[in-house]
């Protein structure tokens, strides 16, 4: 039986492999190699182009560049932690607290908003928060305050937007692992006199660690790479690193500099993921599964 399958492998392999190879080579590997090559090219004062490290050096020399990058990294970590703080109790509520019938409904309700484009969700927040927005209208209408307050275009509104648009990607993996946690472990802990905090700390969190890490990695990568939310909800001073890339590519038309920024974004976010895995003692292979 195995033999009949083995013998026919030849052309089947070619048919399946060719499109996949073309896809990965032409649309992924070669473009990234080209981007890498561009990031090492530059033009000197005399207009002569050649290989240079100047694009990478510029990042460290110019505070506007590396500070934007550092802000992006720090804010992404904070957003990831906020999302984790919301997702843990919510996942617990859905998997362990509510009845089985409510559970299906809640799961659906969690997913539905994420079918709607990020752009529309951000637009919704803009309508709610801005100076002529819903909150201001309602509160002034009720006489709670007199002059409208601009609540959009600052770091807090940016955080609200980023948390809202990425919550689901933390919830799904955590619900997955929390579901596999045997209830009797929690019951045993409780019967032996452990308080709620102790049960969370000693039973629930250790069990959910793989889900927590995979959710955190996905959310962190999505947040660092996001463009719409920082561009529409952040303030003038809270530029995101992706906006720097856009500025270099489309506005300054300095592709070499933009290419270097692209690789720096990749390298720095991968480094942070690696450090996080190190600190929590998780292995990438287990987390990715």
């Amino acid at each position: 039986m195995m033999n009949s399958r083995k013998r026919k492998i030849g052309w089947g392999f070619v048919i399946f492999f060719t499109p996949v190879f073309l896809w990965l080579a032409l649309l992924f590997v070669l473009p990234h190699l080209e981007l890498l090559r561009l990031s090492f090219l530059g033009t000197d004062y005399y207009g002569k182009s050649g290989v240079t490290l100047e694009n990478y050096a510029a990042f460290f020399k110019e505070p506007a560049y590396w500070m934007t990058c550092a802000r992006t990294a720090v804010y992404s970590i904070i957003v990831t932690l906020i999302i984790l703080m919301i997702a843990l109790p919510m996942a617990f509520y859905i998997t362990k607290v509510v009845g089985l019938r409510v559970r299906g409904l809640l799961t659906l309700m969690i997913v539905v908003p994420f079918w709607v484009s990020v752009l529309i969700r951000v637009y919704g927040w803009m309508i709610i928060l801005r100076e002529s927005g819903i909150i201001n209208r309602v509160l002034i209408g009720l006489g709670i305050w007199k002059t409208p307050l601009e609540m959009l275009y600052n770091d807090a509104s940016l955080m609200v937007g980023l948390v809202h648009t990425n919550l689901l990607f933390m919830l799904v993996p955590i619900i997955g692992v929390m579901d596999s946690l045997d209830n009797s472990l929690i019951e045993a802990g409780s019967n032996l006199g452990a308080g709620k905090l102790m049960i969370w700390w000693k039973i629930i969190i250790p069990h959910c660690m793989t889900g927590i890490m995979s959710g955190s990695i996905i959310v962190f990568m999505l947040v660092t790479g996001s463009y719409i939310t920082p561009a529409l909800m952040g303030g003038k001073n809270s530029q995101w690193f992706t906006q720097q890339i856009y500025n270099q590519f489309i506005i300054a038309f300095n592709w070499n500099q933009g290419a270097a920024f692209g690789f720096l974004l990749l390298a720095i976010s991968s480094l942070i993921v690696w450090v996080a895995l190190r600190i929590t003692g998780q292995k990438l292979g287990e987390v990715v599964k």
Binding site: F17, L27, V138, L167, G225
Partner: protein
């Protein structure tokens, strides 16, 4: 603490309040965008001046609705074309990839698998600039060496279609692989023993079994393409897709027409997603 353990009233109420706040936070922006599309006002904000459909079907002169707004209608059409192309391309390649990784053995398979996953992990902005750079260099190279000017390689809808397919194909592949993993391969062996060729087996048995996941993958591809912004931003030429057109309008403050587009999008996305959910439920039941 959990269903089976006795809990205090405060604990249950506390959790209930938390969940209510969570869903309020989740749905508030969507509901508000939706409701304000029907407000008889020139601005997407309160106060409420009464219900109207003008922002969909208004012919002007004061209120020109979505259906008479050429810019947004063109953008919707452009997005539909791109999304159709992307779902076709990524479904074909994704099906091949699923077969390749599930049914074939070859050298460096593990490496290729990681490479297949990578487009999903790399930020969309970086995918965009890398494909833009590559297409541009390729165009320059072809022009200098062969003297052909390939307009197709400059930013435009073809580049957008390919660019989006780069990571969307990964999603489709994973959807199809998930179902192929559950496939009982003795069915194939039975067919081989009865004298079927590989092509016949794939066509009559495996692909038939995979059909729900192929349709599901195509739907996922369509949705992902229709709302893609980050990769598209760098590859777009003179014809904007809907997210690109909407972005510009929202940055300038938005208008009730943007709300109307949002309602239209929310409605059609739910139809596609619910249809998809229904199909996958049905195939799971089989």
């Amino acid at each position: 603490m959990i269903r089976t353990l006795p809990t205090t009233r405060t604990y249950r109420i506390g959790f209930g309040v938390f969940a209510a706040a969570y869903f309020l936070f989740l749905f508030a922006p969507l509901v508000i965008v939706g409701v304000l599309a029907f407000n008889d006002s020139m601005f997407p904000s309160l106060p409420w001046y009464g219900f109207t459909l003008d922002w969909f079907i208004g012919k002007g002169p004061k209120k020109v609705g979505l259906f008479y707004n050429p810019m947004n209608m063109m953008a919707i059409l452009t997005s539909l074309r791109v999304a159709l192309g992307v779902s076709l391309l990524s479904t074909v390649v994704g099906t091949c990839a699923a077969f390749l990784f599930e049914q074939e053995e070859f050298r460096f398979k593990r490496l290729f698998y990681l490479l297949m996953i990578a487009p999903m992990v790399v930020p969309g902005v970086i995918l965009g600039i890398s494909i833009l750079s590559f297409a541009n260099s390729l165009g320059v190279l072809l022009e200098q060496s062969l003297g052909i000017d390939l307009r197709l390689l400059s930013p435009g809808l073809l580049l957008v279609t390919f660019g989006q397919s780069t990571f969307i194909t990964t999603f489709v592949t994973l959807v199809i692989i998930a179902r192929l993993k559950k496939f009982d391969r003795t069915l194939e062996d039975a067919a081989y023993n009865l004298g079927a060729t590989r092509l016949e087996v794939i066509w009559h048995i495996t692909l038939k079994y995979l059909r729900p996941s192929i349709i599901g993958g195509a739907a996922v591809a369509f949705l992902l393409s229709f709302e893609n912004f980050n990769t598209t931003l760098f590859l777009i030429g003179s014809k904007p897709t809907l997210p690109i057109a909407l972005f510009a309008q929202i940055r300038d403050g938005g208008s009730p027409v943007v709300n109307a587009v949002s309602v239209l999008l929310m409605f059609s996305m739910s139809v596609v997603a619910l249809g998809n959910l229904y199909l996958s439920r049905k195939s799971d039941a089989q």
